[in-house]
Symmetry: C2
Subunit: 341 residues, 2 copies
DNA sequence: TATTAGCACTCCTCTTAATCGAGTGCTAAC
DNA sequence: GTTAGCACTCGATTAAGAGGAGTGCTAATA
């Protein structure tokens, strides 16, 4: 168990290093407000904290830097919510004041504001489309051979795909088909659609309409392709400003990661609600070795609706980010709640 | 007018610098294949070319580097198509062999392949949605107060937006409204929709349905918001590998530019067909001072369908990029042509 | 007259050495 | 238990010097 003084020193080191990005030394620390011990005392405590694994040195005669374990302890035990300036809170709230708001628009702007306020990179995972339920099918013919299939979900999301009609497929056939689909499949959640299409609709379609299989196949691909929810970024280039990423190789790995949407998904620990923090190697990703990710999900009622991740260096301002994220997720949950009811 | 020998030397310098990124010296050049003059002769010619503005020195005793004017001349007069390896051509063609192809999918993958083959950054501007014509309107009610408005265009593109219904707006009202819209506005190009909505539809709607204005306003915002076509990127982080962007400040400016979709649009010189090259300051953008942009548009029949831009350092392999871009635009034009007919 | 060899000079780049300073660990005194 | 003092470490910064690729100019050459 750490003594009070050790806690205080650990906290001071993390707080200082978060701001300065420089290893913090005993003498420097002893001059800080609230620290009443001498540099020598602090040196002794630092040596102990290092032995316990909370601190590291970059070289033999450098100051101390928090280790991953140190950050973890800080985050778990020393993190106190920060008071955010009213101006910044207002900036977030202003997003939601406009009346006619498109979900996608809100999400994009949220990502931008968060990255601006934090100076880190924001990744916003939109509401999971897979959980929406089919509200309506629609097939609109374009030419003799092509048409657009449209699925509208209960949350107002629209998926669509152009498809090739089998030759001889008439507008009348299309109408019949749409009717059958709507009769049988309204209310089915998208993740269930592939199975239900086959079990509930396929045989009926086959018996009433010629060559309907190829269209069903196209419909299947709408949902299967769409199994990733949409990802929005804010402040991708903010990382370039962090001194730990002056190393171009690291930077490149990170940028490449951001470009691979499916890999980005793994950064979110889905299923967990509330705010989650993963530090450095806890992310299990080489490019994220020097990064921490703070994720939070926002909800509507019982359903999970989406998640925000803020990515910064391990030396990130956890206090501030956690608080901002809290404000933002509350606002988002509320906004989507209003939309729904 | 430049002598043959001057042309040859200018060409050799550009070709060499494009590969090495190092200023090229007279002695080094004299050893090159095809160069029969001595280093001293080359020095004299270089001095002349510099005086004419085609070459520059980085410092008094360095080798020569092409100036913007030098690149411009090279591009205008010395650029000969390069033979691309059959493997690479095959890689491009393979994209278009898969049968079921979604326009968006093709475009995304094209951007990726191009950036991979060129090692530069690719920006792909999708077909200009504004020129599509309305094929069908649809309004799908979600709850008592909300609905989704959908516009399908003749090219199979789907735009949608959730909207709030005026209180007391019945399903019957919706149906009437959709009928009126489809009667009056099918065939109207999207860019014309705002005007036509007001002139053709608004008065009829008003006289038949109560409180329909607010919905019309929402419809308007679908198209007005969508006035930028969609932008797809490939290999954003490739620029990090270019030695001229080891400077983080420059890199940051570039990344920020990429993130601003509306600014990116200005990089395309719209209206011009064929391949266009803009070198360094010709782009009129601070972040692009050290970059060249090669743009090409691909067509379907008479209509412009989209454009590709490849962004690299001014010291870019123009020869290779131009050829690759040619292969790609031809393939794209053909692919979209097939889709349409 | 056009070309080329020779040479002094420039200036970037890479090494090596020296200095500085913030920080540490340890010992001894308080 | 705390703190002052001191020798030591090591990264960062600066300075000086060597090396090398390149240039411009002059004079010799074909």
């Amino acid at each position: 168990m750490l003594t009070n003084r050790q806690l205080q020193i650990l906290q001071a080191i993390v707080d200082d290093f978060v701001m300065s990005a420089q290893p913090v030394g005993s003498r420097q620390l002893s001059k800080k407000e609230g620290i009443t011990y001498s540099a020598a005392t602090i040196r002794n405590e630092m040596a102990d904290l290092e032995e316990l694994g909370y601190l590291e040195k970059t070289h033999t005669s450098s100051g101390r830097v928090p280790s991953e374990k140190g950050y973890r302890f800080y985050v778990d035990h020393l993190l106190k919510p920060q008071v955010i300036s009213t101006g910044e809170v207002a900036q977030i709230h202003s997003l939601f004041e406009k009346q006619i708001v498109e979900a996608e628009q809100i999400i994009k702007e949220s990502a931008n504001i968060l990255s601006e306020l934090t100076t880190y990179t924001t990744i916003l995972l939109g509401p999971d489309v897979q959980k929406h339920r089919v509200k309506k099918f629609q097939i609109v013919p374009l030419t003799e051979e092509t048409a657009v299939a449209i699925i509208v979900t209960d949350n107002g999301h629209v998926e669509n795909r152009t498809l090739t009609l089998p030759s001889g497929f008439s507008p009348h056939d299309i109408e019949k088909m749409v009717n059958i689909l709507n009769d049988r499949l309204v209310g089915v959640p998208l993740y269930d659609l592939p199975i239900k299409l086959q079990t509930e609709a396929l045989s009926v379609l086959k018996s009433h309409i010629n060559a309907s299989e190829s269209i069903v196949r196209s419909l299947l691909s709408i949902t299967s392709q769409q199994n990733e929810s949409k990802v929005y970024y804010g402040g991708k280039s903010n990382m370039l400003n962090q001194p730990e990423f002056h190393d171009l190789a690291k930077m490149r790995m990170l940028m490449d990661l951001f470009d691979k949407e499916n890999q980005v998904q793994t950064l979110f620990n889905q299923g967990n609600h509330g705010i989650q923090i993963r530090i450095g190697s806890e992310n299990n990703h080489l490019a994220m070795e020097n990064c921490s990710v703070i994720t939070a999900s926002f909800l509507v009622g019982e359903e999970q609706q989406g998640a925000i991740a803020i990515i910064g260096p391990t030396r990130m301002d956890y206090r501030r980010v956690v608080t901002l994220l809290d404000v933002m997720t509350n606002s988002l949950s509320q906004a989507f709640f209003d939309k729904k009811h």
